[in-house]
Symmetry: C2
Subunit: 343 residues, 2 copies
């Protein structure tokens, strides 16, 4: 039986995670869930971000379901570097998977894009690049201050995530992978990415390929999101592009993500792309769809493809039935999704 | 009399620059223009990118008007690092100015944003960050390859561009500056940017401020571009955000930019954001508006605010009169704009 660690977190995290668990329990009865208290609240209370003992316990689970962590009173970086990125790096979650679909029933912001037309997935590298934490500063708080941030890219790290993108593309209908980078300016890392991409592409003659600079891709995600199937890119570009992809498909209220260690050597982690949204926390009005779709990614990763498909179908029905202007209640949406997923 | 160096460049560069010159000649009779042959064509012919002698000659001008350089047969980085970025760095063009307006008459891609509602300007840092060229690789073409790119940020460089953004905001109606960075991950550079921002903000109590992470800003540029007035950000974030801003305001066919050395110690450079578009080059169908708007920025920088306003008014009239579906002819648009600007 699947053993899941649950980090509900702060703000709307607990509210949306409760719905994801409802749905998980419905489609996979008997799943064992253990709650872990991590995030801004714990940090405020105890000063702890992620004790080693907790990291060890988390490692013993099949997957982690995370709601959202953070609030504006925690200094920038504390929970990001100490918790979220710590987990991604410690558990070698090198595939940061972010699908974006414009679901029927969802009114996206783009006038000329119809529901059903956008169905893309960004495979964002998760353990390298500018997220490596390789930076520093000198002469802080003086006019001579200099601060650096270094993007570290290894052939090992780049090739494995590109390989994952090609495997995913091979299973999809359009079988196309777009590499996004900035090879004309970041020539060293860009060249490494481009050469690794070409090498992996040669092993997948059935998958079509294209390359775009990150600025062009940011633009085309707005003017022509339909053109993308699988996009593979580095950690920081992926961070930015997936928020654009979310925006054009109805907002981060619907955007799911998985931080995946494909080999299963470590647990993978699944979380909505949205944050803890303290402004609406506790009101029962947060949209749990992103959390529920993240649970579907979790099911897929653990080999329960059929259960995942049922969750996705429930979400499709939920979104298709939404009436614009009618406020949603978090728990009611969760009830409907759970009921639909087993109907 | 103003002495302008003109780099028409490749592809549609010469076509659109010809229109910008028509308009410049109309509103500022007697402007002295010298053509410089730089870009992909010259590189193919001679192997030269930017000879020192040309750099010295360019330095003797009041401003540079550039069309577009590059074509797909030039390896990535050659013209970017060797010409475009070389000029930005050599001439200390630390303010990369990119206004975006949704002009009346232009159908943007966003269903819920009306013409006239978007009027923002991105002040992108132009001489530091990941564009510094501080990177390298080891063990190239082996499984052990590692490639780095380093973002270099100085208090000097960061503070001066933030200062420029505040000065510009102080002259605008809404008087608001948004700092965009990624302080929660890029903690060293982010902290430097945030502290410099706060320090400059304290000198401008009349200007409102906000901070956004780059991923959030990328999203809000799509869902709510109306909220921005002046945005200040680093070199790479600015590259990406300005293409999104262009996309939501009708595309890079309309997007102008200035690489500015505000002190006038070196010439500033003005260029459309679009590239050389080899696919439509030579057909006389490229939209010259971005080049003409870049010429207006040039006029403004050289102190000809009234002439700049006339060019902007001509563009407004041109765009308001466009009939969707009717193909435009580059030279005719240039003729109309020149005529309107002096009418
Ligand atoms: C919170 C932050 C560290 C994180 C990131 O930058 O990866 C977030 O923006 C995301 O996209 O998951
Ligand atoms: C061509 C390239 C070097 C350039 C940049 O990245 O700055 C371009 O994208 C731009 O925005 O002017």
């Amino acid at each position: 039986m699947a053993r899941i660690a649950v980090v509900a977190g702060d703000g709307i995290g607990p509210e949306v995670v409760a719905q994801a668990r409802k749905v998980l329990d419905a489609v996979l009865p008997g799943v064992q869930a253990t709650e872990y208290d991590l995030g801004a609240a714990r940090w405020h209370r105890t000063g702890e971000v992620l004790p080693d003992s907790v990291l060890t316990e988390l490692a013993g689970h099949d997957a982690i379901l995370l709601g959202a962590v953070g609030d504006p009173t925690v200094p920038p970086g504390v929970l990001e570097r100490g918790l979220l990125l710590k987990l991604r790096f410690a558990f070698d979650q090198y595939v940061n998977l972010r699908p974006s679909r414009l679901w029927p029933g969802v009114a996206g912001p783009l006038g000329n894009v119809k529901p059903g037309e956008v169905d893309l997935v960004v495979v964002r590298e998760g353990t390298e690049g500018l997220y490596a934490g390789a930076g520093g500063s000198l002469h802080r708080d003086t006019p001579a201050e200099v601060a650096t941030e270094e993007s570290l890219n290894t052939r090992h790290g780049v090739e494995r995530v590109i390989r994952d993108a090609f495997v995913r593309a091979g299973r999809r209908e359009r079988r196309k992978v777009t590499l996004v980078h900035k090879t004309n300016v970041l020539t060293h890392a860009g060249s490494l990415w481009a050469r690794a991409f070409d090498a992996v592409a040669a092993e997948h003659p059935d998958v079509a390929t294209e390359y775009q600079h990150v600025d062009a891709a940011a633009m085309f995600l707005v003017t022509q999101p339909q053109r993308y199937d699988v996009v593979v890119t580095d950690n920081l570009f992926g961070d930015i592009l997936t928020d654009i992809a979310a925006a054009v498909t109805g907002g981060i209220g619907l955007a799911a993500s998985g931080c995946i260690n494909p080999e299963g050597a470590y647990p993978s982690m699944f979380e909505p792309v949205h944050g803890s949204a303290p402004d609406i926390a506790g009101q029962g009005v947060a949209d749990p769809v992103a959390a529920v779709l993240s649970a579907a990614l979790l099911l897929e990763q653990l080999g329960h493809a059929e259960a995942a498909a049922r969750v996705n179908a429930a979400v499709a029905a939920e979104l298709a039935g939404r009436i614009p202007g009618v406020a949603l209640r978090t728990a009611e949406v969760g009830d409907r999704l759970a009921a639909h997923a087993v109907a």
